[in-house]
């Protein structure tokens, strides 16, 4: 471990450039999925354990597009729409009936959904690791030491673009305002004539579309396998729990932090701690918040 630290800060400080860049690229993808979760959690109080599977599903839709010869980036709007519609269907069949129940119902229902989605993807695409080749140039810096695939920059740009679109949508559009109103007080919103059922449905569809976009980016940057969803779900939960609901800047910051923590943990402690690192961040933040709340004789709820 000491060797690794020495390597990082004494012998090859350029490594930090690679890791910070990688952390940002990873974080951008996490941020999208995590924002989707924050949205459904905040608006309709549904803790979607299948979040990661929506991401992977988006990746597989991109993979299908790639197979029929459409570049995933060009297919992005179509993929978003497909995922949006899928979200609506899932809402109608499952989510609608668990919204008003206690938290465990939504956790378990979405766990069932997660199992179901994984297995159906496994039946359709098989368990093999799949990738989507974006055929994009790979840039290098510092004498080939730092590599930055263009596709990652494009992904970052796309993530930023969609985040902006969502923010504008949430503040300017009628539907966005209705969503925020429902999040603040569903009953009051209903009294004021907002069709909360429609709002919930739209929110869930939006979350699904956001996850789909994140999935497209995942498919171009990493690899897809039907059972990888749970790791992404874990990360989004860590981010949202740590950042708090309805706190977009917090979610984005936390996503980048998580991206960096994973990268640095992988280098300093070894790859075997990379997934553990995300969990430690979660536990650490929760403990810290408990300590804070305890000072005010409160609990984290």
């Amino acid at each position: 471990m000491l060797d690794n630290l020495q390597l990082l800060f004494v012998y090859a400080p350029v490594m930090n450039v690679q890791m910070i860049l990688d952390g940002i690229f990873i974080g951008a993808v996490f941020a999208l999925a995590a924002y989707g979760l924050a949205l459904v959690w905040g608006v309709m109080n549904v803790k979607n354990l299948a979040q990661g599977d929506f991401v992977i599903m988006g990746g597989y839709v991109a993979f299908t597009a790639h197979n029929i010869g459409i570049h995933p980036v060009l297919a992005l709007p179509i993929i978003a729409i497909v995922m949006f519609l899928y979200g609506l269907v899932v809402y109608q069949l499952v989510i609608k009936r668990v919204i008003d129940n206690d938290m465990f119902v939504s956790l378990l229902a979405t766990f069932g959904l997660s199992l179901f989605m994984q297995q159906v993807m496994n039946l359709i695409y098989g368990p093999e690791v799949q990738t989507v080749d974006s055929h994009m140039y790979i840039m290098t810096m510092f004498d080939d030491f730092v590599t930055v695939p263009t596709v990652k920059i494009v992904s970052l740009g796309l993530a930023a673009f969609f985040a902006t679109v969502i923010v504008i949508f949430m503040t300017r559009s009628r539907m966005g305002q209705a969503i925020r109103a429902t999040a603040q007080d569903a009953r009051a919103a209903r009294v004021l004539g907002i069709d909360t059922n429609k709002v919930y449905m739209f929110t869930f569809g939006l979350n699904s579309a956001i996850c789909g976009i994140a999935g497209v980016l995942v498919s171009m940057i990493w690899v897809l396998q039907p059972f990888y969803g749970i790791v992404y779900a874990l990360r989004t939960f860590a981010i949202v729990t740590a950042a708090g609901l309805g706190n977009l800047p917090g979610v984005i910051t936390m996503s980048f932090i998580l991206g960096w923590v994973e990268q640095y943990a992988g280098i300093v402690a070894g790859a075997e701690y990379q997934i553990a690192a995300a969990v430690f961040v979660l536990i650490g933040v929760l403990s810290w918040r408990q300590v804070q709340m305890r000072r005010q004789r409160q609990v984290v709820r």
């Binding site: 490594m15 368990p127 093999e128 690791v129 396998q225 280098i267 790859a271």
Partner: protein, 411 residues
């Protein structure tokens, strides 16, 4: 007040549990020999679970079509009963209990991967049910004194450790640098198979005095090894070794390309089953791949002919394998051949007699010679090494002279 319910519930339970009863299959049913196997059809090992199943099925069909198994002057057909262990060891051991107890199976074919085999072996041992396995390479399977497990494949220490021997010789010949100055980076999945491969590598590296500078264990569900590779680029070792089944091979090949990993020697396991030469032709170029089987082996036998013929016939039966057959499939077929041979020599279905016949196996197959040691591993068959060429083909590496060094990559 609960009387009615308790009786009803008891009845429902009895019915429910009895309902689980699959039709009890005797070990030999009419003219059919039933062999059981729990394989991974879902979960992390399922890619190779299916490769294995196709190997079993192909051999079973071929044996049945060419006269079956002759025992006591009568011809029997083979049938394999499969269960899905979901890539979960505890499930695999439960299913094996079920195969033996409920389905009455007395002969077993192995599951996929060392972890599953490790979980199944105590069960087959407990019921004294012989198992011929083709996919559990872990060395530790053969140090436990198991009596009923036989493996047709070469064990884990032959995967990457001999690559180091080849590299050491080649380095000496090239005068590249002194062997003890060679530095190794390795990333192994955190599972029994890869950790056993790792143990072999560590011993061999020590023997040559090579220095291990990176030694990472990859978590099973990690889809990103960029941290390891970044460290790799900073340290610039001469040798990179990766093992993590098909998933690890695909992830590694993808990220080699993305991070422009260029080093003198790179070796990874499971190249063929991950199809790296097709999916990542750029980074696959020059990879050294251990394999259990080659298409140009000379050995020949009556069922499949030689390796080349097996290759052609299999591709005809399963066209999706036209880019190459993973060795996981061929060794599965070889395991079925061992069963046929053992039944015929034992001339009986008594498990003890069949077990002794398996133990005395000394045969030639398209997969190579098979002869078991006291511990149950195949000691007659060597491991082979191949290098991926720029056009995606594989060339055999018999001695260090056959290697293209350094690998010519152009990202």
């Amino acid at each position: 007040m609960f009387k009615k319910y308790s009786i009803a519930a008891g009845a429902a339970l009895a019915v429910g549990l009895a309902g689980i009863v699959a039709p009890a299959v005797a070990k030999v049913e009419g003219d059919t020999i039933v062999i059981g196997s729990s394989l991974s059809f879902t979960g992390k090992y399922s890619t190779n679970g299916f490769h294995t199943q196709k190997g079993y099925d192909f051999a079973v069909k071929r044996i049945n079509d060419t006269g079956g198994v002759k025992v006591g002057g009568k011809s029997y057909k083979i049938k394999v009963v499969y269960y899905d262990d979901e890539s979960t060891p505890s499930r695999a051991s439960q299913l094996t209990e079920r195969l033996v107890n409920q389905d009455g199976v007395k002969f077993m074919l192995g599951p996929y991967s060392s972890s599953m085999t490790k979980a199944v072996a105590p069960v087959t041992e407990k019921y004294k049910v012989p198992m011929v396995e083709a996919e559990g390479a872990s060395r530790s399977l053969f140090t436990q004194g198991y009596r009923y497990i036989f493996a047709v494949l070469s064990t884990s220490e032959f995967y990457l450790a001999p690559v180091l021997d080849l590299i050491a010789e080649r380095t000496k010949k090239d005068g590249y640098k002194s062997v003890s100055d060679l530095r190794i980076a390795m990333a192994f999945e955190n599972d029994p198979f890869s950790l056993d491969v790792r143990a072999g590598v560590v011993d061999t590296a020590k023997k040559h005095g090579m220095k291990i500078v990176i030694d990472d264990k990859l978590p099973a569900d990690l889809s990103d090894m960029s941290a390891t590779l970044t460290k790799f680029k900073a340290l610039k070792p001469d040798i990179l070794l990766v093992s993590g089944h098909s998933k690890g091979a695909a992830t590694a090949a993808r990220q080699f390309e993305e991070m422009k990993i260029n080093t003198r020697y790179v070796s990874i396991t499971h190249c063929e089953s991950a199809k790296v030469h097709v999916k990542f032709p750029k980074s696959a170029n020059g990879l050294l791949c251990p394999t259990q089987w080659l298409t140009n082996l000379p050995n020949s036998e009556p069922i499949f002919g030689n390796a080349q013929k097996y290759d052609a016939d299999f591709k005809k039966a399963y066209p999706e394998y036209k880019t190459g057959i993973p060795y996981q499939t061929t060794q599965a077929s070889a395991a079925v051949l061992v069963w046929k041979d053992a039944f015929e020599r034992a001339n009986s279905f008594d498990t003890e007699k069949v077990r002794d016949a398996i133990s005395a196996t000394d045969m030639n197959t398209f997969y190579g010679p098979i002869k078991f040691s006291e511990a149950g591993n195949n000691i007659a068959k060597p491991m082979f090494y191949r290098q991926i060429q720029p056009d995606g083909s594989y060339t055999n590496i018999v001695s260090h002279k056959d290697m293209t060094v350094p690998r010519k990559v152009s990202y």
